[in-house]
Amino acid sequence: MMIDAVLFYVFAAIAVASAVVVIGQRNPMYSAFALVVTLCSVAVIFGLLGSPFIAVLQVIVYAGAIMVLFLFVLMLLNVKREKDSPSRGQRTLSGVALALVTVLVLQAGAVLLRSRPTPAPDYDASTFEMAKILFSPHFLYAFEATSILILAALVGAVVLAKKEL
């Protein structure tokens, strides 16, 4: 559909622009706001790719929970703007180099994959189908294990952040 394609490129542009703001800002508060915008536009793209469940999950988990946690900590610690540091130029250089290498390697992989003929499958990513896969024996134990992971993270966070128990 035409509209889907147009929306995809619009939100892709928004995602990239706000991601640039995330890494270019010295004020962490603005970085956090920009990251929320990136996450929401990626959620829209998930929706356009035909996975409404993942799209909504992205907003609930990332934008609604994780980023609020970040903002809470930023407000709590009253974080200031970043100062200049002596190693800045060197870090920028190595960062750009690594990012470029990553892109090239991964792009090569993507090109290889593209040369494979992709079928035009009957794609049904409804919540019902998702649940069937998630609760199939293949993923069920991993799913149950994540609940233990979350519990461990919860206890760990409380132990680390609390002044005295």
């Binding site: 990136t38 610690l77 960062g95 896969i133 993923f139 993270a153």
Partner: protein, 103 residues
């Protein structure tokens, strides 16, 4: 349903987001911003998973995204708790300040 043409471009977008996240980890000196850049990288990966899942016509990629999100939530909770503990000890969030194994 036909595969839309932008599935390949979604993979490219995921690359760009991942690369920007990598760059941010190097560029920024604030622990919290660095953590946010890691989230950005994870998001790039998630987008690649969803795009490949769409191209392949299977849902396994989406289930993996689900697990990545769970791990990201746990990571953020523990990571921010560590940041708070660090801030209590050293009164700064600058990564360069944390250069001792014992403090």
């Amino acid at each position: 349903m036909e595969n839309p043409a932008f599935v390949h471009h979604a993979v490219v977008l995921s690359l760009i987001l991942f690369a920007l996240g990598t760059l941010g980890v190097f560029l920024r000196r604030n622990v919290i911003t660095v953590l946010m850049c890691v989230e950005l990288m994870l998001n790039g990966v998630n987008l690649a998973f969803v795009a490949f899942s769409r191209a392949q016509g299977t849902l396994d990629g989406q289930v993996l995204v689900f697990f990545v999100m769970v791990v990201a939530a746990a990571e953020a909770a523990v990571g921010l708790a560590i940041v708070i503990a660090l801030h209590r000890h050293r009164d700064t969030l600058d990564l360069d300040a944390f250069n001792l194994m014992k403090g």
